[in-house]
């Protein structure tokens, strides 16, 4: 009896040890692989960086990404202007309605569907809605697609953040006779300001990296353009086209573009994290 018990314990410990080892190994491999992505990105990206990347267009000499950077900034900017108010309002509505409301639950579900729907479908949608009637690809179509990408992120984070505002604050304001608008603006939004900003940054980060919804909407343009009625370049789409090419210079430029996007997206994410942790400390 004693020996079998000891044997069982030894086996259990051995199993425990093996699994710990395997998990450590898996984690190491995965982290190494993921680190390799970042390494390849920095190694190849930094080598290709230079002033021409920011100053020249696709047909510049040497080729640059100015048209794409300008296009991305313009389109993400306009998309933010559209998605921010709508998203904050819809998120406020959901927070007001609470969990018990059937309608609120429907809007929340629909928002989650939009949040996770394949982004290329947003491209198809905007194509049939805007590109076909307009008769051409355009910066506005790109703006619309990016706004739809951003909207659900803002709605979701606004709702989550408003829910964190203590009920007492809201009740106290109402008890003083303040209107709904005043309570929302001066109490709820003010209290959740950092959280809403966080959501906005994450939404911008997501929009800045999206490629698929722009393929058939903003399309691309070899020259820097400020006319939203014409096709407009974006950084991700330009990277997509450059990566597919056979020539080393284009691929190097694609790495530079990828580095720019990744640094931007990660910076936005890290800032939003700092905002959250600052908020928690306070």
């Amino acid at each position: 009896m004693a020996t079998t018990n000891a044997g069982r314990l030894a086996r259990r410990l051995a199993v425990d040890k093996t699994i710990k080892l395997v998990s450590t190994l898996l984690a190491t491999i995965a982290l190494v692989l993921l680190a390799m992505i970042l390494w390849a990105l920095f190694f190849n990206g930094v080598r290709a960086l230079g002033p021409h990347v920011f100053l020249n267009d696709t047909f510049g000499r040497p080729n640059g990404l100015a048209n794409a950077i300008v296009g991305s900034l313009i389109q993400v900017g306009f998309a933010t202007v559209i998605a921010l108010p709508v998203g904050v309002l819809a998120g406020t509505l959901l927070a007001d309605l609470g969990k018990s409301s059937k309608l609120g639950e429907t809007v929340r579900f629909v928002n989650d569907v939009l949040l996770s729907a394949p982004s290329i479908l947003i491209g198809l949608f905007v194509y049939t809605l805007i590109v076909l009637p307009m008769g051409r690809f355009s910066g506005w179509a790109g703006v619309a697609a990016l706004a739809i990408v951003m909207l659900p992120v803002i709605v979701r984070s606004t709702e989550d953040m408003l829910r964190l505002v203590p009920v007492q604050l809201r009740e106290a304001a109402y008890a003083l006779g303040a209107s709904r608008w005043t309570v929302t603006r001066s109490v709820l939004w003010r209290a959740a300001r950092a959280g809403i900003l966080t959501g906005l940054l994450l939404a911008i980060a997501r929009a800045a990296g999206e490629t698929a919804p722009l393929l058939f909407t903003a399309f691309g343009n070899p020259q820097t353009s400020f006319d939203l009625n014409q096709p407009m370049a974006t950084l991700p789409v330009q990277i997509f086209n450059l990566t597919l090419s056979a020539d080393a210079d284009s691929i190097a430029l694609a790495w530079a573009g990828a580095l720019i996007i990744t640094v931007g997206v990660l910076a936005l994410n890290i800032t939003s994290r700092l905002l959250i942790s600052l908020g928690q400390r306070k």
Partner: protein
Amino acid sequence: MFFKRMTATVAATLFAAAFALPAKAQGVEFTGAGATFPAPVYTAWAQAYRQATNNTLNYQAIGSGGGINQIQNRTVDFGASDAPVPSQRLTQQRLVQFPAVIGAVVPIINLEGVAKNQLRLTGDVMAEIYLGTIRTWNDPKITALNPGLALPNLAIQPIYRSDASGTTFVFTTYLAESNATWRAEVAAATSVQWKAGAGARGNDGVAGAVRNTRGAIGYVEYAFAAENNLATTQLRNVGGRFVEATIANFQAAAAAADWENSQDLAASMINRAGENSWPIVSPTYILMPRDPRDPARAKAVLDFFAWAFTPAGDRLAEQLHYIPLPDAVVRRVKAAWPQIVTPQGQPLWTN
């Protein structure tokens, strides 16, 4: 990229243009869209032309299918397509068609130990490779054509265009003329149902995929092979001779085209007779409305191509490895232009 040489050619003039522009009057801006195969030469012409006249062409390389689509919807001033549009459709859509420049399609390979223009292939063998019936490089049908070459027992990785493309139309036309199975089961079109291999986007994408894949074979417009320094092959022409992928051999095929009996200026240059004729050569076409909505812009398009057909335009085309239209053909093209009229019925172009 492929535009390197082009930019080299026009960089200096562009530089001058950048400073000269504000002084000049605002020129006409006109738009075209379509084929990617001639996009580099259209862009080079556009840049040099703007310098010369201050008129600006905005050309969007969206593929031949897109070009036909856009000109039918009249959202552009001209459409560009590598595949000629059938006469009936031209009449129905009230379009005029004319060739703009000539290019060649060449096979490219990635095979260690096999140099440029060393491997010999035939249309029939190429068709079998893309049908998936020839699977390795040391297949008897390939070694029989290449007695001197030691070919490895390596799987062939055929690469094709995943987007609808004029290059594919020209290439599959050649395969269909060379192989009965291909003609019956796959046929010739801008996009077909491929039986073997992997797809890549654009001429650039095919060149890149072939460069990165051991044992790959692909087909691209010659300029893309030349610019990226990829290994081209020899092909057997209808005369039974193996010819190399060179400009001179492309010109031989272009010269052998039968313009006399062509309809809507669409003359096939595939499998033309002639000792040195490269078998896969094709013109690329421009489509314009007979009754343009904006005659001033349509006139600007005609002026642009008239300029492109001058020796200055020819030189740019040659530098980018295209073949300029022969003078006799240019005369035919210009003879077709008076069909394009203003709303009052006045021809926009008089010779």
